[in-house]
Amino acid sequence: MVPPPVAESLTGRRNPARLILAGIVFLLPIIFFALFYIYPLGSILRLGLIPEGVLDTAALTQLFTDGYLLRVLWFTTWQAMVSTVLTLLLAFPGAYVLARYRFRGKTAVRTLATLPFVLPTVVVAAAFVALIGPSGVINTWLRDLFALEAAPIRLNQTVWIILAAHVFYNYSVVLRLLSAYWQNLPPSMTQAAQMLGASPRRVFFEVTLPLLRPAITSAATLVFIFCFTSFGVIVILGGPRFATLEVEIYRQALNLFSLPLAAALSLWQIIFTFILMWVYTRTQARVGQTVKAISRGAVERAVKKPREKIFVFGNVVLIVMLIGAPLYALVVRSFRGRSGFTTAYYQALFTNRDDSLFFIPPGEAILNSVLIALVAMALSVSLGLLAAQALTRWERETNGRKPIGTTLLARGLDALLMLPLATSAVTIGLGYLIAFGQSPFNWRASLLMLPIAHAVVAVPFVMRAVLPGFRGIQPALREAAAILGAGGWRVWWEVDWPLIRRPILVGAVYAFTISLGEFGTSIFLARPERPTMPLAIYRFLGQPGALNYGQALAMSVLLMLVCAVAFLAIEHFRFGNEGEF
């Protein structure tokens, strides 16, 4: 059954022709997702299970029988666990400081601490190369200081630089989740324990830690998922010696051309990420039903005692150093040539040189990226809007009544559109490679493949941004507008649009940024002569020579700037006051 569009539901008229049209419109997101998400995943399933036309689980079990693959799986799990524990330990005191103290510059620190989360992985990797790579800021500095021949710190292509980048990347996730939750814990809980005779140490272990557990498990699961599916950081910083499952899928498919094994590994990756995502959703639900929200003023206190000053100051320094140092190094290094300050790397981005390793100047990579991001944004926002409209309609139809067909439809669509969150980038890339490299949909050469894949990846974020807006449109508001004399479109323009334009903008910015920084899927789908910015950075970093290195950093800085601006825009429009945008 298809629900009637706005005007009909208001007046009670039902026109069969319009009903069918509305049905088709609302089915578009489902058709799109079936074709560009379900079908590629299905192709992986088929190739992984039935490589030669008959069921063959040899490739599937290889992950647990082959010594090398077993080591890959072990490394994937191990580094994810260590990264998660390190991030939690580092972010814990910082979360406490942000949740419980009031100090000058707190908003700036909070914003800075959230920044890494929106940065593309290639930018993070490039920033770490610029900081502690062989010719990074720290090594250059040490070499100048002690007049050394070679770089004293050799972390490049070690597990340490991978862990450092993961901590940098996920510190903000933990900090944000934990401090928000901590802020809502009433201080009277710990004070009650104190009054009952518990020492500060016992208060922490008996009350604070157990109360924070939902937020800790939730944050830990999320960080584990990110590190488990880590791709860009590993290939750029780890080099050929290190491989996560994600990296191995990529190598099997594109370096060794072993698609069946890649598909089999991908199947495992799908299973792992789905399980992890399911765990995360469960923990997240528990975080949602937290103790009632309390005002900031009631829990934040001024920094007074010397001990508190050292603690707060120390954590602020840690946050600024941890987050700021790599980004600072990236910017500084991108302007430093052999003889001091230079803008040569930036200029080189936009000049065509014959000896360039590229077929085309890197400036065109920027243009490619922007075009792809714009198309991906338009696609994912339209999809998100149609889906959100249908979803809220269906939800409302069953409001207060027992679940019927539309409820299931709404829940199904909601879950379907969230699935890309639980699918790793490389899996989607591989899926497209397999599904659209053969009939009946032999579209791999199409320029639209990449924007479509990015749109699929971005739709969950768009949905999360716009759904609250749609849910906020009360039928009573529309009815009031109608009674006051507004017609069908007028109702939409006067009631719906003002409520959803901000969420739409936020969703659009999300989609644009995600597409711009996307790496794992792009490496499968981008055509060699049309690289995107992250791919160009990756290639530059893989080539020797100061100019390539400098250009990689320069392009990373540009990408970082765009993402930072987008991030600030999202923060502003999400929490900002009412007014025109």
């Binding site: 009433p186 004070q191 009054m195 009952l196 005779g197 020492s199 016992r202 008996e206 109360l211 001024a302």
Partner: protein, 356 residues
């Protein structure tokens, strides 16, 4: 003079350089006494309680408990109990574990804890609810679990921070009496913070009224109600009729609405004063004779009459002043009636300060 159970000596606390939360407060408490700190929000009563608890550190002054200076003692070593406005029950522990928390901190054996928990739950009439989750309790039950938890470790002093503030009015009325009964049954010394005068009077042996970080009056509920020490206390206790005046040559108080002669000593001639007229309306004379009003009587016009059952509230307009009186039963007055209200000297009280 015997050493007081709890002695607070010139204690002060400010959150920033200009505003005092608590300003040089002195306080002493006898064993077994229940003292209520009564005041509007922001008067410093909660801060004073938290200073005594040790949850806040004073800027100056000392707190002495049973002759021992505890000013620098951390809260978990003071051996006081505390009940919070939001009850602060641990959601990750059940009723029994909440009540037994303090006992576990004391290092008691599991068997002893269980016995004491059962005893405490019996005291608050929640026998056998040990295994119940906190989220399954009603507001009133939570309040009683919080009380049981605070009492279980046998604190020598119990501090209560608006312990009924989170509950609705009807429940509050009932629980404030239960609370006093239980505290008296276990012979607990307690300090009870509230902004509700009814609650303070019902629970406290003594009441300390606070304003702007200071204790402005301390005494039994009867004494405070009988003679509010300042216009602020009078107004906070719900007295509405405060009029400014001046001591005239014959020693009466001259106001816009007539001359008054209260009981007790009179300030010097020419002094500006504030006159409190308590709302007891013993007698109303209708219509008034046309003579100018005598000393201690008010001529006016009835503005509104609100019938409250056992009594009626009557607003009387007299030369622009609105005065509120309580008359028993139904005085059969109507808006517009001209009335003369004779007052008794003990209904009147003067303060040697002009009204702000």
């Amino acid at each position: 003079m015997p050493i007081a159970f709890l002695e607070v000596d010139r204690i002060g606390k400010s959150y920033d350089a200009t505003v005092y939360a608590v300003r040089d407060v002195d306080l002493s408490l006898e064993r077994g006494e229940i003292l209520c700190l009564l005041g509007p929000s922001g008067s410093g009563k909660t801060t004073l309680l938290r200073l005594i608890a040790g949850l806040e550190q004073p800027d100056r002054g000392t707190i002495t408990f049973e002759g021992r200076d505890v000013t620098a003692t951390p809260p978990h070593e003071r051996g006081f109990g505390m009940m919070f406005q939001d009850f602060a029950l641990f959601p990750h522990r059940n009723v029994g574990e909440n009540v037994g928390f303090g006992l576990r901190m004391q290092g008691l054996a599991a068997g002893d804890i269980a016995g004491r928990v059962a005893e405490m739950l019996a005291l608050v009439e929640l026998d056998g609810l040990e295994a119940r989750e906190i989220s399954q309790l009603s507001g009133g039950e939570q309040q009683r679990v919080a009380l049981a938890r605070a009492l279980a470790p046998g604190p020598r002093l119990l501090l209560l921070d608006e312990p009924l503030g989170a509950l609705d009015r009807a429940l509050r009325e009932r629980l404030m009496l239960d609370l006093r009964t239980i505290l008296k049954r276990v012979d607990m010394t307690a300090i009870y913070v509230t902004h509700d005068q009814t609650e303070a009077f019902a629970v406290g042996d003594r009441v300390a009224v606070m304003n702007a970080g200071e204790i402005v009056q301390i005494g039994t509920p009867q004494a405070i109600y009988e003679r509010p020490a300042t216009p602020f206390v009078a107004r906070f206790l719900g007295f509405r009729n405060l009029i400014s005046g001046m001591i005239s040559d014959d020693g009466t108080v001259k106001t816009l609405i007539g001359y008054f002669l209260p009981e007790g000593p009179i300030p010097p001639v020419g002094e500006e004063v504030t006159l409190l007229i308590k709302p007891v309306m013993a007698r109303v004379e209708v219509p008034p004779d046309l003579l100018p009003s005598d000393v201690n009587s008010i001529n006016g016009v009835v503005d509104t009459v609100t019938f409250r059952g056992r009594f009626s509230q009557i607003w009387v307009l007299s030369r622009g002043e609105r005065l509120l009186f309580d008359a028993p039963g139904d005085p059969r007055l109507h808006p517009g009636d001209e009335v003369r209200i004779p007052l008794l000297p003990d209904q009147l009280q003067i303060y040697e300060s002009s009204l702000q």
